[in-house]
Symmetry: C2
């Protein structure tokens, strides 16, 4: 199988991730830090070490802490259900938010949701997307932002959002800033020395090449974000209030230790290969793939107007074919893609691809040139059949 | 190491659980059901199959569905934060609830929390615990229950709660009934033909011998329980409301597929050995262990008054020693236990073991007689030193 569904979850994982998880669970499958035997201390060390590696990867500032959750969706829910909404009226989001953001915001009463202005240029069979920072500056001036929630990159078309610039514009108005890095953590540079955000969210099983079941967010250790869930933390058990310390306040129940160990291994793997090298490999493959599609006038590609604002995710539509049908043909030819709305309906509305959606080809480090050559053959068959 | 911390998490897991997880994640590490390629269908099949096996294990009725969560704590939070509190005033809990229950209830305003009457008999160095159903019947008559939340068995001392009888008494008043089976699912018989409960909660990584990261609860497919989290479900993406279908409504974000596959394998393992055989093995080991402790007049054991209401969890205190010190000595001798309050502070208040707590020895299927013999030697050294 040729796997072009890496935006859903990267596959395969580096071999060291599978090996570490299996080995760790067989040998250290204990509850972290809640017993007194030395093995639990070892488990706690791996958790702390993984937190430190993530802080280093994200260039966290000294006051920032990493909280582990079971999924990026949980992290987004903790943040968006936990912030103090009494002072928030004007919410800005991009057109490219995932339902994990859209559906939580939909539950919040008495807020205005505004879309950050996005440029769309249609030329021949190419739809180019971009942000004009001057436009966004005027937009914020006209209608001051209280909260900005933005994905770092679209899971639909790979468009990278200029998060540092938009966050800086938003912070002129003291807005609260949340960045969803589910598609970028470990792949793009994230640097809190430049990014004026209150939280970033990461998913272990996507561009961090770790396992499912582990994700998280960054938070200031002085944050008064409310917890979403209550439960045991293994410390101060007689107190009916959760610990006020962060991350403990948000990490109730047993920690998913072997998933954290797997993430630890994938962080080492990224460090060994070099984040930039992974980014460059994906970018090269993206443009090789793009040149395949650009040959066919009946295929419309949706992507970033700028080469340095593009992830290895390509969305396209085929004239006279429904996206789902193309997905089926590709599947019959052993090519895995994802078609439809990709849990990001607003992106498709903006791109003009609702309700049928697009065919999405999402790349990962383990794709190679042969995959693109084979894809080319199949696309040729589809377009000339 | 001799592992007596199975109430925290069972260890080791059956070898087939480790093998299945590794094999599944290497070969089927895709997003469930969200692509169109056949491999994702296979992943979805394993999820459905695991749900069916759990329904069979719990003797679920046709209208009952199994929802997967990342932890039992999440399951408890979904239920207790999601029920309609407008009609609930009188809440009954046992003295043995975990902080996952206590701390959620502590957040709910304008309710009365009542403790289900529990009998405690102190005789020599033995504290025997039990429930008198007549007393509970009168208690409910005096102060009618609106909600009953009860653990199936204490994670502190292994006392089994007569959940079927108490649920029946509570249902006389149409009370909502929630049973926390974190310590019993897969080990004790749970049968919805007799148990009049609205929900049971299970943890994959405890008595189900599956991995961390997977747990869940049962719910009627007509339930109007509110969801705790919002996000993508892979279906009906253009709709800003979550699907109303259960379990989809409660399962947002990517499913932890390899953990579910691991649980599937452990369910087969339980089925092969026979749940009753696991229960009997643990019970025999418990009474062998009890006879070790009963030799020493300076050890006080807290357990059930009745042989058929006791899990393989033994809590005790040592005269003139703090529980933590005993834990350290045991750890130095390569015996893993857990001391303190075990995230269940009310149990210790009731037993009279607050704030120091007890030393807890919790058994699993992989303990054997040799463990008890070695334990005997160490206990002898401690008590005669």
């Amino acid at each position: 199988m040729i796997y072009f569904d890496n935006a859903a979850t990267t596959y395969p994982k580096p071999d060291i991730v599978y090996c570490t998880m299996d080995n760790f669970y067989r040998n250290y499958g204990f509850s972290a830090g809640r017993g007194q035997y030395p093995q639990t201390v070892q488990v706690s060390k791996v958790i702390t070490d993984t937190r430190e590696k993530l802080k280093k990867l994200f260039n966290c500032l000294p006051h920032q802490e990493v909280v582990f959750t079971s999924s990026a969706t949980e992290a987004i829910n903790i943040i968006l259900q936990g912030i103090d909404w009494s002072k928030i009226k004007n919410v800005y989001i991009t057109h490219f938010e995932h339902n994990a953001v859209l559906r939580v915001l939909h539950q919040i009463k008495n807020i205005n949701i505004n879309y950050i202005k996005t440029e769309k240029e249609v030329k021949n069979n190419k739809v180019s997307l971009s942000f004009d920072l001057e436009n966004i500056k005027y937009q914020f001036q006209d209608n001051k932002p209280d909260l900005v929630v933005m994905t770092h990159a679209s899971n639909v078309c790979g468009l990278v959002v200029p998060i540092e610039e938009i966050a800086s514009l938003a912070k002129e108005y003291d807005a609260y800033v949340v960045v969803d890095c589910a598609q970028t953590a470990g792949l793009l540079n994230i640097n809190f020395n430049k990014l004026r955000a209150d939280h970033i969210i990461f998913a272990g099983h996507k561009t961090l090449y770790g396992p499912l079941g582990i994700a998280g967010f960054t938070v200031s250790n002085k944050s008064n974000l409310k917890p979403l869930m209550y439960g045991g933390t293994g410390v101060d058990s007689a107190n009916m209030e959760l610990p006020i310390e962060i991350p403990q306040k948000f990490e109730v129940g047993s920690q998913n230790t072997y998933a954290i160990a797997g993430l630890n291994a994938s962080l080492d793997w990224i460090d060994n290969i070099g984040r930039v090298n992974i980014e460059n490999k994906e970018k090269k493959l993206f443009y090789d793939m793009l040149s395949v599609f650009e040959q066919y006038p009946n295929i419309t590609v949706f992507s970033s107007a700028s080469k340095d604002k593009q992830l290895g995710i390509l969305s396209c539509t085929f004239e006279d074919y429904q996206s789902g049908s193309i997905g089926q043909v590709l599947s019959q030819n052993n090519i895995a893609v994802r078609t439809g709305l990709h849990c990001a309906p607003e992106a498709h509305k903006f791109m003009g691809t609702s309700p049928g959606g697009t065919v999405r080809f999402s790349l990962g480090y383990f794709n190679d040139n042969n995959d693109i050559i084979k894809l080319n053959n199949i696309i040729e068959q589809i377009c000339y059949s």
